[in-house]
Symmetry: C2
Subunit: 370 residues, 2 copies
């Protein structure tokens, strides 16, 4: 095998597919990146057997072939190479690859390419196309609400639902719930799948194009793929029954509070410097007199008090939350103002963007002593 | 006590003095920052009993006094405050301080100010003034060569020597030696002291003024202080006899190699990606035919080969080093080209800046198998 390609394109492709490599790979070959030099192109694969990423870049291929090289060393070495191009070659039957760029020559022990579980593109399933910015917003507004507790896999992913032209994404860790929906042109179907948060987080990072692009989504009964530009993200789906979350969204709220997103987030961030030093990271919110008083108390450190102006419709409410459950959602809102929707102190509250009915976040309050 | 000051000035002063706080303070009060509100100014002190830093900023002092607040919480809270100014107050006899800025109000448990070992300015000793850029260069070119092995304290500091008008700094970890000297106007005296690397590293970071400033240096038999602008750095000295390093500097070298500093450093950096995966981080240098061939071999990973153009006067030499001992010095050189001065494979080599006799670095080679 022998090919030459642009160093920067190779570096970017390596960085992208490396996201699929596990911190502790199950087998040695999974610590590697599979390189396949084909017809004027190089395909890179990496996988942890749960998610897989393929990136394809142009290459001047002198001899077709496939090799597997250590992901870690490739990333470190190739980005430091002095030339604009890189030539990688390996003789048939050898287990050593040569990497050459300007006056730099490296050899690396390679791994057997036939042992690598290459990432297979999905051939059949429900297909649809979606604009990158819409998909990004749907993921961003939900994936943060997932659980990281692997003992309950259902909650470590987002449920994606297609119902006619409506695409809906939902995530919950049982203490909070985030739901975002969008109408997607030409979408049709009926599908409920649970996509691992890990895949969605990597997809979110990769969906950073300055220009509008279309993402090709394909879902089968046990896999989903997202394809755009020269990249394919593949993932196994999480099996099981996602909870019927609609029932936990309150039908109505007695109090509606409108707040400046940034001012409120900054104030909660400061108060949480105190709250996070105590158990449960609790902040209290007292809504009344057109302001919200945010406070926290830690016996070992001190206390914090902040006042933020608010427009309040309905009865005054005092309520307490885990500060992280408030800041997490606020960081992902797009609107200058947002709405806090409340009933009583121990009843679930909602966060919504102003004038945007497509998103809702439900958060369970904390019971405090006074 | 009650004072008001500019938030940004307070944040900078806190950041600066915090460098003296140990990661694991010996006593709780040493995790704090001592604040003394005096005549239109606020003095901040922090210390780990080895080094101490004082910073003074203007303040509108309503009531003089002194308190000690947690360094960690002050740093986190004050930089996030919403206003341009901060007011800090504490009632006499209380152990709670109030911090107020715009609509933010924090209270913090404070520590007893009388328990704090305030940093004392040096009153007597050898005094001299030195330009910040000269002092910075002297420290930068030597302190990296110190040892971090606390079991041999002598090598964890730099020896500063004053001999007439000459100021000299030397550091060694026994495998390498770095010596830098400068003639300083109006300097006179005879002094040999060993200053902890920790203090010099913090001083290096703080000496970042865009404008030329003078640093006031004062040395007693067991302490040294560096004072500039509104800052004082104090340090205990390391006791003991620094080795007679002049004797290890070879009197002459058979081979002189001139290399481009950046090209050579980049090449060694790349080769060390391989060498550091093996024991001892060894790179080989083969000087000959107006080039240097840099190589390394790791049985588990592969090998690296780089060629860099060189001007060689004298016999060809093959020699091997710990890669870090080469890159450390090259990162601290100012000149476009540098000189490698060599005798035989197992004899100490020197690194010098081109056309600059005030600096020399001596490095012991490694014995390799072939």
């Amino acid at each position: 095998m022998k090919f030459t390609c642009h160093k920067n394109e190779l570096v970017q492709a390596i960085q992208l597919v490396s996201k699929a490599i596990a911190n502790k790979p199950q087998t040695p070959v999974l610590s590697g990146i599979y390189l396949e030099a084909g017809d004027n192109q190089l395909e890179l694969h990496a996988t942890d057997n749960e998610i897989g990423i393929i990136s394809t870049i142009p290459a001047d291929v002198e001899e077709q072939g496939k090799i597997v090289l250590s992901g870690r060393y490739m990333q470190e070495v190739i980005r430091r190479l002095p030339g604009d191009t890189v030539t990688i070659s390996q003789e048939i039957g050898e287990n050593v690859s040569k990497i050459q760029s300007a006056a730099s020559n490296f050899t690396f022990l390679s791994m057997p390419a036939n042992d690598f579980p290459t990432v297979k593109r999905l051939q059949e399933g429900v297909h649809f196309k979606i604009q990158d910015n819409i998909l990004r917003d749907i993921i961003k507004k939900t994936v943060f609400a997932c659980s990281t507790d692997e003992s309950r896999p259902i909650f470590t992913g987002c449920q994606m639902e297609i119902n006619g032209e409506t695409l809906k994404m939902a995530a919950t860790n049982t203490h909070r719930l985030s739901v975002k929906k969008e109408v997607v042109a030409n979408l049709s179907g009926d599908l409920h799948i649970i996509i691992p948060a890990k895949l969605l987080n990597e997809l979110l990072r990769a969906l950073n194009s300055d220009m509008p692009i279309e993402v090709d989504v394909c879902c089968s009964s046990n896999q989903a793929s997202f394809q755009f530009e020269n990249v394919v993200f593949m993932s196994r789906l999480i099996e099981g029954q996602f909870p019927n979350y609609e029932s936990v969204i309150p039908k109505s709220f007695a109090t509606t509070v409108t707040l400046d997103t940034e001012d409120f987030l900054d104030a909660v961030d400061r108060v949480s410097l105190i709250s996070r030093s105590a158990d449960y990271n609790i902040i209290r919110l007292e809504f009344g007199s057109n302001q919200v008083h945010i406070s926290s108390n830690s016996p070992d450190v001190g206390n914090a008090n902040e006042i933020v102006a608010a427009t309040i419709e309905g009865p005054n409410v005092n309520i307490a939350f885990n500060a992280k459950y408030v800041t997490d959602v606020l960081k992902n809102l797009n609107s200058k103002n947002f709405r806090f929707l409340l009933n009583e102190s121990l009843q679930a509250a909602a966060v919504r963007e102003e004038d945007n009915p497509t998103f809702v976040y439900i958060v369970t309050p904390v019971r405090t002593q006074n």
